[in-house]
């Protein structure tokens, strides 16, 4: 079903980026730039919701069409080589419809927030141009109708992440973090490219070569021409047999190999073990960037890809097991590290890694709709938490260290209230969004049939939930309750330096921050301020230009003496409020039958169900709840009619289309929910009592130093590569062999010339003699010829 408005969703942010880059740079008006940026995303949002929910010309809304048909917009055929074809075309089916809706909506809120947060920045236009570019890339990723176009968006969001993390160009650590992010992503991209190739080869071997997500029949493109037909790669894969659950399947070159290669890409993009190390460093970028990219959208791209390729994954049980294990391990690891961080953004960063681990765990046990549901709720509450922390940082004049905060709830009431909802959401308190999604994941893990260690994974997930509650409570307590510590001179952490310097002026008071411009800042080299704990150097530096202030002006970020934190302006608090509402009520979309006492039967799951795969020999529990084995292979999105919600009183269905609810399943689910609620409450209570009394308690050094992962990577991988390159490749190969050959040729020529020049003594007569000698030889030859 063709609807070319779909392409406008993707094009609008691009146009906004171009306008901001070309025109905004000349105009330099914050109002104009901000308006263009938000308006372009607004256009995308509106169109996305219209296409998703309304019945466009009788074709059916993307989310609710029966049978499930995607809205497609084929623009042109990008490349066609042999039997390989990749198009530039967009498609919105149920999965991408859900994604597009929340990505654009949350993106819009974050854009609005950023117009307030980045106020006064010197390169305002560049920020918003990049941000719009990022949205363009993300929407390409989500709406692309084939693997290659998705990969274009995949790479593009990596690029924009690099540009935005390194937005503060004069800070070395921002640049380093940006490079780290990009390189870690790139390592993953290797996996994705190989995975795409494998998919192509596998489908080609089956006779229908394709990398498209959708079947294309009877479509017209933008200028009205008929689009040549295209098969759905995953429909082809759906007809194949399941790979065996062995280690060999990983390297056998079949479905499992493709699956694990794509997952390697997902570990890079979605920050799982082993490639998660870039995400905490990425907090060097501005907070809206962290909120948008590293909480709500880019990092979920890995999950999107896995769910999109779910047909592939349900046939690769080894890969699924690995995904589940890595997801659970990452969740636990990151949660423990987050417990010990002092920078508010780092805590949230590790929290993101941990929640992504949950999503991967869900994918690994086959609960794809649970994973997507958690993506959505996580977008709500994590964006809320990040934006809230941005508001806190802004109000604290760019102090990010929680040890210097405290008691902020009376200064920043709106921020406090909204972050409260975010805190409860992530901790898994009922009614709030996070509870529904996290609980569904835990339930599906517990009852999974896809592997035999579901119980262990469930237990790990449970521990992670407890630790999540504890560290989030710690964050809230240290920030909003307790004694006010911002007046004390304390060793600060790494502040949002360049942003701080936008307002750093000797006499700027709290409210002048709104009007100070970047020109006020002193120009230091970036290293001078990092780690103000190196007080000797900073004293010297400060003594140079701070004659008036007393010793409280040690940090150019942070509050000056006697300054109080202030609430953020409406443009920043309004998105917080909207996100808070979503965090409270958004989860009800996916409330399962069992827990909502039959009132809601997980409309989210039912909407998503036709487009994700079910394991062919899946028996009960995770994906479909039916008790019987299902003989027929999993369905694709084109021809399955979702069974209505009425038929579920314990009667198992064929086709695995809906969740059947047997009494024992309902009971199990309720028990497990009760366990999680208890543990969440326990975690909150533990954190509350412990940290209220001792907010500055020192956490274990090992956790604070993130298990020394970066140092380990440095020592085992990076330093050997650098040494190998420097000594091996450069010294031996480049200088020794290649330069040696080139120089050697020259040396040989010179030496040969040196030898040959001995023949030329410079006397003309000797030349004549030699000529005569030659002539004699020639004549002699002829004489000899004559003699024969």
């Amino acid at each position: 079903m063709t609807n070319h408005w779909l392409s406008l969703i993707v094009a609008a942010p691009l146009i906004g980026a171009v306008i901001n880059w070309l025109v905004g740079r000349r105009v330099r008006s914050e109002a104009f730039i901000g308006f263009v940026a938000c308006a372009s995303i607004g256009v995308s949002t509106v169109i996305a919701f219209i296409l998703a929910f309304t019945d466009n010309n009788g074709a059916g809304a993307a989310l609710f069409s029966e049978p499930a048909r995607p809205v497609m917009s084929h623009l042109w055929t990008w490349m066609e080589v042999g039997n390989f074809r990749a198009d530039v075309g967009f498609a919105m089916d149920r999965l991408s419809g859900i994604y597009v809706c929340f990505v654009t909506f949350v993106g819009l809120l974050i854009h609005i927030f950023a117009t307030g947060y980045m106020h006064g920045d010197k390169s305002y236009y560049r920020f918003f141009a990049y941000l719009n570019l990022f949205m363009f890339m993300m929407l390409t990723l989500v709406l692309g109708d084939n693997l290659l176009l998705m990969f274009v968006g995949w790479e593009g969001v990596g690029l924009c992440s690099y540009l935005l993390i390194g937005y503060y160009v004069d800070r070395k650590e921002a640049g380093d973090a940006a490079k780290k992010a990009f390189i870690a992503n790139r390592v993953g991209d290797w996996g994705v490219i190989l995975g795409i190739m494998f998919v192509f080869f596998i489908t080609a071997a089956a006779g229908a070569p394709s990398i498209s997500f959708f079947e294309k029949t009877d479509l017209t493109n933008l200028v009205g021409n008929q689009v040549p037909a295209m098969t759905n790669a995953f429909a082809t894969i759906a007809t194949m047999a399941v790979d065996p659950f062995t280690i060999n399947a990983l390297i056998a070159g079949g479905l499992t190999s493709a699956a694990i290669l794509l997952f390697i890409g997902a570990t890079g993009k979605s920050a799982q073990i082993p490639l998660f190390v870039w995400l905490p460093d990425a907090m060097a970028g501005p907070t809206p960037v962290s909120a948008l990219i590293h909480a709500a959208t880019m990092v979920t791209a890995g999950v999107y890809m896995i769910v999109r390729c779910s047909e592939l994954y349900v046939r690769a049980p080894t890969a699924m097991a690995i995904i589940a294990v890595i997801g659970a391990a990452t969740a636990l690891l990151a949660a423990t590290i987050g417990l010990a961080q002092n920078d508010i953004k780092k805590v949230l960063a590790y929290s993101t890694v941990s929640q992504l681990g949950y999503m991967m765990l869900a994918c690994g046990v086959g609960a794809f709709s649970a994973a997507i549901f958690h993506v959505m709720t996580h977008a709500f509450f994590k964006a809320l938490l990040f934006l809230g922390s941005g508001s806190v940082i802004h109000g604290m004049h760019h102090e990010q260290d929680m040890r210097r905060m405290g008691g902020l709830k009376k200064y920043m009431p709106i921020t406090f209230a909204t972050m409260l909802t975010g805190w409860l959401a992530i901790s898994g308190i009922p009614i709030f969004a996070g509870f529904w999604s996290k609980d569904e994941i835990l339930y599906k893990t517990f009852s999974t049939q896809s592997n035999s260690f579901g119980l262990i994974l469930w237990f790990v997930g449970l521990c992670t939930a407890v630790i999540t509650a504890i560290y989030m409570t710690r964050l809230m307590v240290m920030t909003f309750w307790g004694t006010e510590r911002f007046a004390e001179a304390h060793a600060g952490g790494q502040g949002d330096e360049a942003h701080a310097q936008a307002f750093a002026d000797k006499k700027t008071t709290a409210h002048d921050a709104q009007t100070a411009t970047i020109d006020d800042r002193q120009h230091h080299s970036p290293d001078e301020h990092v780690g103000a704990a190196t007080s000797h150097a900073s004293h010297q530096v400060h003594a140079v230009h701070d004659e008036h202030d007393d010793e409280d002006a040690h940090e150019h970020h942070g509050l000056a003496h006697g300054q109080k934190p202030h609430e953020s302006p409406l443009v920043m608090t309004l998105p917080l409020i909207i996100l808070a509402v979503l965090s409270v009520f958004g989860g009800l979309l996916g409330a399962p039958y069992a827990l909502s006492l039959g009132a809601i039967d997980n409309p989210f799951h039912h909407t998503l169900e036709p487009v994700i795969a079910h394991e062919p020999n899946f028996v009960g529990g995770a994906a479909n709840g039916a008790d019987d084995a299902h003989g027929s292979p999993a369905t694709t999105e084109t021809h399955s009619a979702p069974v209505s919600a009425n038929e579920h009183e314990g009667v198992p269905h064929g086709e695995g289309a809906t969740a059947a609810h047997t009494p024992e399943e309902i009971f199990t689910e309720r028990v497990l929910a009760g366990v999680s609620i208890l543990l969440a409450a326990f975690g909150i209570g533990l954190g509350w009592t412990y940290f209220q009394r001792r907010p500055l308690a020192q956490m274990p050094r090992l956790l604070e130093n993130k298990y020394y992962v970066d140092e380990i990577y440095d020592a085992t991988i990076i330093e050997p590569i650098k040494d190998g390159s420097r000594v091996g490749l450069w010294r031996i190969l480049d200088v020794g062999v290649i330069d040696g050959i080139v120089n050697g040729v020259g040396t040989v020529a010179r030496e040969a010339g040196n030898g040959a020049r001995q023949l030329q003594p410079g006397f003309v007569r000797s030349y004549a003699a030699i000529i005569l000698l030659g002539a004699l030889l020639v004549i002699g030859y002829f004489a000899a010829a004559l003699a024969r």
Binding site: R765, A775, L776, I779, G780, A783, L786
Partner: protein
């Protein structure tokens, strides 16, 4: 006719002696002017040979071009440069004398061998009567030159043109250049440079 043959042979021997004598004299003489005169003697005797061989045109051209033009040119140059007698300098390259003698001997041997082969070869043209031959006449040479040998003729004329230009270029006075360089602060430096053969 014996007398005519004998006479011819006598003339031949005289001319040969003159040629060889002049040639040796030319090589031995230290004064280049005397050597030039000897060379003229060689040319005159060669002209005589051409006459004997029934090539009057060539003989005439020999005298006109070689003796009359080239040697005059050489004498001009000798006079212009005021060349003096060659001083007996000790020979720097000692090996040259034996090398020259050796080379000459080998050359002579090869030549003798070739001549013998030519003489012994059965190819024989009926002995043309030199006096009555039509070959060497101006008319026939002219005809051949402008029909069969037209291209070499034209090329030779171009060659001569090139030689003229070359000679003029080589022998002209060195060009004096006045190079004007302007300094950073506007001052002009004038430099006088001469283009010589070895810095063209």
């Amino acid at each position: 006719m014996i007398i005519a043959d004998l006479f011819q042979t006598l003339i031949w021997i005289v001319l040969a002696g003159l040629a060889i004598g002049s040639g040796v004299a030319m090589v031995v003489q230290r004064n280049p002017l005397y050597a030039a005169i000897s060379l003229i003697g060689v040319f005159i005797s060669f002209a005589g040979f051409y006459l004997l061989l029934g090539a009057p045109f060539i003989a005439a051209v020999q005298v006109i071009v070689y003796a009359g033009a080239i040697m005059v040119l050489v004498v001009f140059v000798i006079m212009l440069l005021n060349v003096e007698e060659e001083v007996r300098k000790p020979l720097r390259l000692k090996f040259l004398i034996p090398a020259a003698i050796f080379g000459a001997a080998i050359l002579f041997a090869q030549a003798a061998f070739i001549i013998y082969s030519v003489g012994a070869s059965p190819v024989r043209v009926p002995n043309a009567d030199a006096a009555n031959s039509q070959i060497g006449l101006t008319k026939s040479i002219g005809t051949g030159l402008f029909t069969d040998y037209l291209l070499p003729f034209e090329i030779t004329s171009i060659l001569i043109l090139m030689a003229i230009v070359g000679a003029i270029t080589l022998a002209r006075r060195p060009t004096v250049l006045l190079l004007v360089e302007e300094d950073y602060d506007g001052k002009k430096h004038v430099e006088r440079r001469t283009l010589k053969i070895d810095n063209i």
